[in-house]
């Protein structure tokens, strides 16, 4: 990709912009779009031949070379390990998300932004069919609504009633919070969660509601999407407060039914998450931003006297000037520019281990797109973080029909440990291909002896793993120094909410007082919600 002859580089005219953005990740693309909407002149370039940078969805071979490529330095991806050299064919028909597993809540801000900016015209979404949790060595559906609790086969009667009571409390709290009324005594207005309870750890609040461990785990990890084991008290890395937990549940419930044609709370973009940055780039382009791909920045230009940023030198040799610069987290600041250390060290906070699996059978009958959570300790006693997995299918056009891609991720501080969680989650879900004979033998034995091991329901066997890959990605935080910003890496979350709020902050630093993609900035006033999910 980097070997395109210099002569092929186009000359850019004009040579001065308000903003230069290098890299087309989601955050960078949002900044480009927001700046364009705010009337800034924007040059948006990318060293790659494709849009999306670390937020891209790539054909399987390109995906592998992207994460293994030594050229992507500083080394954001490491410990890449694949199950076999031979890729499932046709390998280019498998579109793999770099950010997976990831979803959008129907009601989250990303969706609002897509609608507000008009980017929604360029993306189409499909619903996630079901939500599962791995518990006691089995996959159970997540009872996330009144009807789901009613239908659930794994919950006991008392558990059902406790869970429903908890949901009712949360719903009443949410309703009262939304209507903005304070609790009126005497009226049958419902109950609000008291302020002091909102501050306490969510897990303590759940205990206070007398919810049993299984339901606590369901709520914490499969509904409120907590990443770290919450029962550890002070030693827990990220304690979810009741307020945060309730907010996520609130988002979850308001997501259900937002769009008439969406089944549950979550949606996934057709052709993968790489479509999202691309859609925002299109918005920026509509507002006048200039786009050049395959155009690396080879140097950053500073004012000799003040040592302040003034522009960039492109691979074409051309020098372009701007007052603001946005860089991709993978951009390596040339050594010549040592004084600008604060840009170089975009802080490494921790790691996220990711996995990609390809199978030819769904994890659950009659569902194509499935969200799955392994709560802490569900895989083994030492497991401290939740592992999330997302199965996507041909109906979101990421693989040939009959195949399924399963993305997995878990946050980790230790790369090896993270990968271990990912591999044990894979083992829990799939039969590995290497030992087909043995596994069959083992199963027949189990059936014959009717051992206590939890056999799959109705003698169903696990899907077989055709190919898998695990790797570790560094988590780098965004930074800003007055003229140059570095965008964040895809985080370990299920949604883009954190990326979005970081991006919003970066924008506010760059252009204080400007609104971040205001309402009605869509080019044409097409009725917003109506076209959601409709074909392009």
């Amino acid at each position: 990709m980097a070997e395109i002859p210099t002569s092929d580089y186009p000359t850019i005219d004009p040579t001065s912009f308000d903003l230069i953005v290098s890299g087309t990740g989601l955050s960078a693309s949002l900044l480009a779009a927001a700046a364009s909407v705010a009337g800034k002149s924007v040059l948006h370039i990318d060293p790659n031949s494709f849009y999306g940078s670390h937020f891209s969805s790539l054909p399987l071979p390109s995906f592998l070379s992207y994460i293994s490529s030594a050229s992507s330095s500083p080394n954001l991806y490491s410990d890449v390990e694949t199950s076999s050299e031979s890729l499932p064919e046709p390998s280019r028909s498998f579109l793999v998300d770099l950010v997976g597993p990831r979803l959008l809540y129907c009601s989250d801000e990303t969706v609002d932004l897509l609608l507000r900016s008009g980017a929604s015209h360029h993306v189409e979404f499909k619903s996630v069919d079901s939500s599962l949790v791995y518990w006691d060595g089995k996959l159970c559906s997540v009872p996330d609504s009144r009807q789901a609790i009613f239908k659930d086969k794994s919950l006991g009667l008392a558990e059902k009633s406790q869970m429903m009571k908890f949901f009712k409390l949360v719903q009443s709290h949410i309703a009262l919070t939304r209507s903005g009324t304070t609790v009126e005594s005497g009226e049958e207005a419902g109950v609000m969660i008291p302020e002091e309870d909102l501050e306490m750890p969510f897990v303590e609040f759940l205990k206070k509601q007398r919810l049993p461990p299984k339901i606590r785990a369901l709520v914490l990890y499969a509904i409120a999407m907590a990443d770290y084991e919450q029962d550890n008290g002070d030693s827990c890395k990220m304690v979810v407060s009741t307020r945060e937990g309730i907010e996520t549940i609130s988002l979850y419930t308001s997501s259900i039914g937002r769009f008439a044609n969406a089944i549950g709370a979550f949606i996934y973009p057709m052709y993968g998450h790489g479509e999202l940055p691309q859609a925002f780039c299109r918005c920026a382009a509509v507002k006048g931003a200039l786009y050049v791909l395959r155009m690396p920045v080879i140097d950053i230009l500073t004012d000799m006297e003040s040592n302040k940023y003034i522009g960039v030198r492109l691979a074409s040799g051309q020098e372009i000037f701007s007052s603001q610069l946005v860089l991709d987290p993978s951009y390596e600041i040339p050594a010549s520019l040592s004084p600008r250390e604060n840009i170089v060290s975009s802080n490494l906070s921790s790691y996220v281990a990711r996995g990609v699996c390809i199978t030819n059978r769904s994890l659950e009958l009659n569902s194509a797109n499935i969200l799955l959570v392994f709560p802490p300790k569900s895989l083994h006693q030492e497991q401290l973080t939740a592992v999330r997995a997302l199965q996507i299918s041909a109906n979101v056009a990421v693989c040939p029909s009959g195949f399924f891609i399963v993305h997995l991720s878990t946050p980790c501080e230790d790369a090896a440990l993270g990968k271990e969680y990912i591999t044990s989650a894979m083992k829990a879900l799939f039969n590995s291909r290497e030992l087909p004979a043995e596994s069959v033998e083992a199963q027949t034995k189990e059936e014959g002896e009717s051992v206590e091991a939890p056999t799959q329901e109705e003698g169903e066997t696990k899907p077989t793993l055709l190919w898998s890959c695990a790797f570790v990605q560094e988590l780098r935080e965004a930074s800003y120094d007055g003229a140059a910003s570095i965008c964040p890496m895809p985080d370990a979350n299920l949604d883009f909410r954190n990326i979005l709020s970081t991006t919003r902050k970066l924008f506010q630093n760059m252009y204080p007082g400007e609104e971040f993609i205001p309402q009605n900035s869509a080019p044409d006033n097409i009725d917003d919600d109506a076209d959601e999910g409709s074909p392009e």
Binding site: Q147, F150, A158
Partner: protein
């Protein structure tokens, strides 16, 4: 729609509203004109379409269309014409239903059209329409009703419809209509014993499991509880009616006092069944006796509304003391009752007793009867045998194992959830479950105290329905008091007064001051002759009509509001002493129940001759005719009416006139 706030009707522009109503009036008068003159032309019919499209509630419009439809197709045999006429009607109804999906007239019209079966119906279209309707409001009972109609017309199997109810319940279990249809379909499948539905017990077990999921997910949702109540009914009520008690009971020897002054001409035989039955007659209830032939016996149902069905059937042996006198060794009877494939045999005997009882009031009503019968520790001769019907139930207990097990499991489950929840549904269901368990398994560890406490809790917890809970509580209390000899002995006593009744001694039950609001379990009290129900909270005494042996009845200090409320005593032919003092008769100027009862206006009874006399006394009989009808059918000797708003001097005159046998009124002798 349920749970959704109704949208306020849009404020219409007054001019537009006026124009609309003018148009409606215009169309309506046109329609009536066509209707009266039987004009069924195309133009005329289209006027009705226009009218019904705006307002589908005009029933006359639908009727007119039916007549027009029949008239226009009378001599048509061409299928296409008929088809297009039907399609027009169906389209018309569809438009009307879009305007109001709950229009009775429109739904009925659609059924009527399809019910003609002139051409094969397009069922696909009908089911599509239903799907659309139930999607808009899954609980619209018109829709469900119509679905049943269409399913029957198309001959859709009940299993298939059962699956549909399951789908609807899975989509939203707060759907009373779906649960209700499920109970209807299951009843049919179980009665027909369709393949896969032979084993009622396993089917019902599965249904219990299903409804539990709803009850525990959301105990505040009512629809599941209704279904649970239906299941409970299936589990606790025997399907076939059976005889629960009788007077005289089996193997009873009755002593007839020879000193009885009055000619005791009628001796009652009473049957109590567990549910309403009909067809008790000489063929199904045969009497075998030396001296009394069956021709002397006529079986009659005791019912308030002249129904041929009743839980209680009575026959009278006429002139029986004549037979008694003629036979020294006594009369023995054998009765066989055929009811629902089972036969019950009863034997009893009567003997004339010349023994001189130490009766105090041998001279009958020369003295005022006082309600202080001496308490007796002596075992009541009839009590022993009153328990015999229970023995019969014991014998079927082997078959009731599943029923008891199921009830016990449900009881355990709801006891668990009752602990951490103050839900009225849980408490009420638990009370009903415990009651059902009691009714199947008598004796041993009965749950009476627990049930009474649950109803006490409910009265506090759910004040708006306290009347219902008090009624239920009264029944449980009466069940408890009458459940065994030991408990009943506490309340029984005896009285010997040969002028009251030929059956001596008279047995008294004193249920005063128990806070009763209604009467029940009369089948266990058929032998009672003196009953004290004073100082309760009775507003009605229905059920008492079964106590055909009653001679004295004390209803003082209750909350009886009208004479119609005591109408059941009209059929108590032996009643001599009645105390109605300190009730609320006459407190309400309008007796709202009077229209349900017989009246001179309904020509069901003769106007008493006394009325003319009363008119002379300047008494408005119109104000008192309930009282007149009541007393006229009785032969009371002693009556207490004081402390009722209705009582005044004129009323007293009236009472004396219509009660010629009366000797004592309000504690004073009648001159």
């Amino acid at each position: 729609m349920h749970g959704r706030p109704r949208k306020a009707t849009k404020q219409e522009d007054p001019a537009a509203a006026a124009a609309k109503s003018a148009r409606l009036r215009e169309l309506q008068s046109q329609l009536l004109h066509f209707h009266h003159n039987r004009i069924y032309t195309k133009e005329a019919v289209s006027v009705s379409s226009k009218l019904l499209e705006i307002n589908p509630e005009i029933y006359t419009g639908w009727n007119y269309r039916k007549l027009a439809f029949q008239h226009n197709l009378k001599e048509v045999s061409d299928t296409d014409t008929i088809k297009s006429a039907i399609e027009d009607e169906l389209r018309m109804v569809e438009v009307a239903l879009r305007r109001n999906p709950k229009s009775y007239g429109a739904w009925y019209h659609r059924k009527w059209i399809l019910g003609q079966k002139l051409v094969p119906a397009n069922f696909d279209h009908e089911f599509r329409l239903l799907d659309m309707l139930l999607e808009a409001d899954a609980r619209n009972f018109h829709g469900w009703n119509y679905r049943r109609f269409i399913a029957r017309l198309k001959d859709v199997s009940e299993e298939e419809e059962l699956k549909f109810t399951m789908d609807m319940i899975n989509a939203n279990f707060s759907n009373y209509s779906a649960w209700h249809n499920r109970s209807m379909l299951l009843s049919k499948l179980l009665t027909k014993k369709v393949k896969g539905f032979h084993e009622e017990e396993s089917i019902l077990t599965d249904e219990f499991e299903l409804v539990r999921q709803a009850l525990f997910t959301d105990p505040s949702d009512q629809s599941g509880w209704f279904y649970h109540l239906w299941l409970l009914d299936q589990t606790s009520t025997p399907h076939k009616p059976h005889l629960v008690s009788s007077w005289p009971s089996d193997k009873l020897n009755i002593e007839i006092s020879s000193q009885f002054k009055e000619k005791c001409e009628r001796f009652p035989i009473i049957f109590c069944f567990n549910q309403q039955v009909d067809g008790i007659n000489l063929a199904t209830a045969t009497v075998n006796s030396k001296l009394v032939s069956s021709e002397h016996i006529t079986w009659k149902p005791l019912s308030a509304n002249n129904s041929t069905k009743s839980k209680i059937w009575v026959a009278f042996l006429e002139n029986f003391n004549k037979y008694c006198e003629n036979s020294e060794e006594g009369l023995s009877f054998e009765i066989s009752v055929h009811c629902c494939e089972s036969i019950v045999h009863l034997k009893f005997a009567m003997k004339l007793s010349h023994m001189d009882h130490q009766g105090k009031n041998r001279d009958g009503f020369e003295e005022l009867f006082l309600w202080d019968c001496p308490k007796s520790q002596e075992i009541n001769p009839y009590l022993v045998s009153s328990d015999q019907w229970r023995l019969r139930v014991e014998s079927v207990e082997e078959d009731a194992k599943w029923h008891l097990d199921t009830l016990s499991a449900e009881i355990a489950l709801f006891k668990m959830s009752e602990c951490d929840e103050d839900s009225k549904f849980v408490k009420l269901t638990l009370a009903r479950l415990l009651g059902a368990h009691n009714s199947i398994k008598s004796g041993g560890s009965s749950y009476f105290e627990e049930i009474l406490k649950l109803y006490d809790d409910l009265i506090k917890l759910d004040a708006p329905h306290y009347r219902y809970y008090r009624d239920e509580r009264s029944l449980v209390l009466l069940d408890q008091l009458t459940s065994s000899k030991d408990s009943l002995v506490e309340y029984s006593s005896r009285c010997e007064n040969s002028s009251f009744s030929c059956i001596n001694p008279q047995l008294c039950i004193n249920f005063s001051g128990l806070n009763l609001t209604r009467i029940g379990f009369v089948e266990r009290l058929l032998w009672v002759q003196i009953l004290d129900l004073s100082h309760n909270s009775l507003t009605s005494i229905s059920g008492l009509e079964a106590l055909q042996l009653l001679v004295c009845l004390n209803l003082s200090h209750n909350q009886i509001m009208s004479f119609t409320a005591v109408e059941p005593i009209k059929s108590l032919q032996s009643l001599k002493v009645l105390d109605l003092s300190f009730n609320e008769i006459g407190s309400h100027p309008v007796d709202t129940t009077r229209y349900l009862c017989s009246s001179p206006l309904s020509h069901t009874c003769d106007v008493p001759e006394a009325m003319e006399e009363l008119a002379k006394e300047n008494i408005q009989i119109g104000d008192f005719w309930e009282a007149i009808l009541l007393f006229k059918s009785l032969r009371l000797v002693q009556l207490d009416m004081q402390g009722n708003p209705v009582t005044n001097d004129r009323f007293r005159v009236l009472v004396e006139k219509v009660n010629p046998c009366l000797k004592w009124l309000d504690g004073k002798p009648v001159c």
